[in-house]
């Protein structure tokens, strides 16, 4: 593939790499696995890139490829599920002005999301990224109604995890 195409791709990936980091953080539990998944997502994005060429927004297309890689193609993550370290569960935000109490709540919530299964995590991720139900249903390949119903169930499940 040509040099220009590569430069163009790297530029867009660089601008959007935070999306991939967020997905990796959700699906892995340590730094090594995180980088491993990041690498696989990058490889898959690069492979699919020649067919992309602007029929959707780069980031929208990226959600799909990255989530598909995490849910379906990537194989190593399951091995590491049990070695969950504290750092990966703690939710971190940029400005530290938030009150401790709220930080604690956010960490608790994030920890609960991490306990969901792969599919539920994908739905929650898209929801947190402010995607509407149409986009969620198109990304996952399920109907909009089912996405909505599932999302409500996930919310109940999260409440149950937090307040057992």
């Amino acid at each position: 593939m040509s040099k220009e195409l590569e430069e163009e791709f790297v530029k867009q990936l660089d601008e959007n790499q935070n999306i991939v980091h967020k997905i990796c953080r959700l699906y892995t539990n340590d730094q090594h696995a995180h980088n491993d998944l990041f690498q696989e997502v990058t490889v898959q994005l690069w492979r699919a890139y020649p067919k992309f060429r602007g029929d959707a927004k780069f980031s929208t297309w990226m959600y799909r490829v990255a989530l598909n890689t995490a849910i379906t193609l990537y194989r190593k993550s399951t091995r590491r599920v049990k070695t969950q370290d504290y750092e990966s569960v703690q939710f971190k935000i940029e400005d530290r002005q938030e009150e401790d109490e709220q930080m604690e709540q956010l960490t608790l919530l994030y920890g609960a999301v991490k306990q969901l299964n792969d599919i539920e995590k994908a739905l929650v991720f898209l929801y947190l990224e402010d995607k509407n139900y149409r986009e969620i249903s198109e990304t996952m390949g399920i109907s909009e109604v089912n996405a909505r119903v599932k999302m409500n169930r996930i919310k109940t499940k999260l409440t149950n995890i937090i307040n057992p």
């Binding site: 990041f38 696989e40 849910i71 919530l109 990224e129 390949g141 119903v149």
Partner: protein
């Protein structure tokens, strides 16, 4: 406001422990090899195609150099006809596999991606069953036609002890080859269960989870 919305409000300002990659590092990642299940699916398929093609060729060479005139006994038309048919079918399988494999794209919705992968794996399952069935049918026919012509068997049959037991003898030979075939099938099935089980465990779990939503 529900709890998920509290997380949503702060979601965009989250930071990760992972350092951001520089553009150079990202460029370097592009050259890395994939370790995805699709790659493994491809490698396993190549091994399967190669295995049965080599097995078929080895059996041809064996028949040609055999003491017994296997090809002559079975008849040229039947022998070469069935071999030709066999390779045509293998070629069709390679074509089907290639078509299915091409349809696996990470840009499609999760559900269709999973369908495409499972369809590719099903093609390979049918390929294995086809080969085993072919081996059994041809093997049985060869047993019935060739064994009675084997000089050692003729000698054995001529002995007084075997008088009146010819049919029973051939039935036992057929039965034994059928049992051997069954054992090969079971072993193949177990190897298959193991390889694809490990490879596709996560995919199947997530596929069922997606399907469960539709109920």
């Amino acid at each position: 406001m529900d709890q998920l919305d509290i997380l949503k409000q702060n979601w965009q300002s989250q930071t990760t422990d992972a350092p951001r990659f520089t553009k150079d590092q990202l460029g370097g990642l592009l050259a890395k090899r994939s370790s995805s299940i699709v790659k493994w699916l491809f490698i396993i398929a190549i091994i399967e195609f190669a295995f049965f093609i080599v097995l078929g060729m080895a059996s041809h060479l064996h028949n040609q150099s055999s003491n017994i005139d296997v090809i002559g006994q079975m008849g040229n038309v039947f022998y070469y006809g069935s071999s030709l048919l066999h390779y045509v079918v293998i070629f069709i399988f390679i074509y089907l596999f290639y078509q299915n494999y091409k349809n696996i794209s990470t840009s499609q919705p999760t559900r269709s991606l999973m369908d495409a992968i499972l369809k590719t794996r099903r093609t390979m399952k049918w390929y294995i069953w086809y080969n085993l069935t072919y081996m059994m049918v041809v093997g049985m026919i060869a047993t019935v036609i060739v064994i009675p012509q084997d000089p050692k068997i003729i000698e054995l049959m001529a002995s007084p002890k075997m008088a009146g037991h010819e049919t029973a003898f051939y039935l036992i030979v057929l039965g034994a080859s059928f049992v051997v075939f069954l054992i090969i099938c079971v072993i193949m099935y177990l190897i298959y269960l193991l390889i694809y089980g490990i490879l596709l465990r996560k995919l199947k779990r997530n596929y069922h989870e997606l399907k469960r939503m539709e109920v």
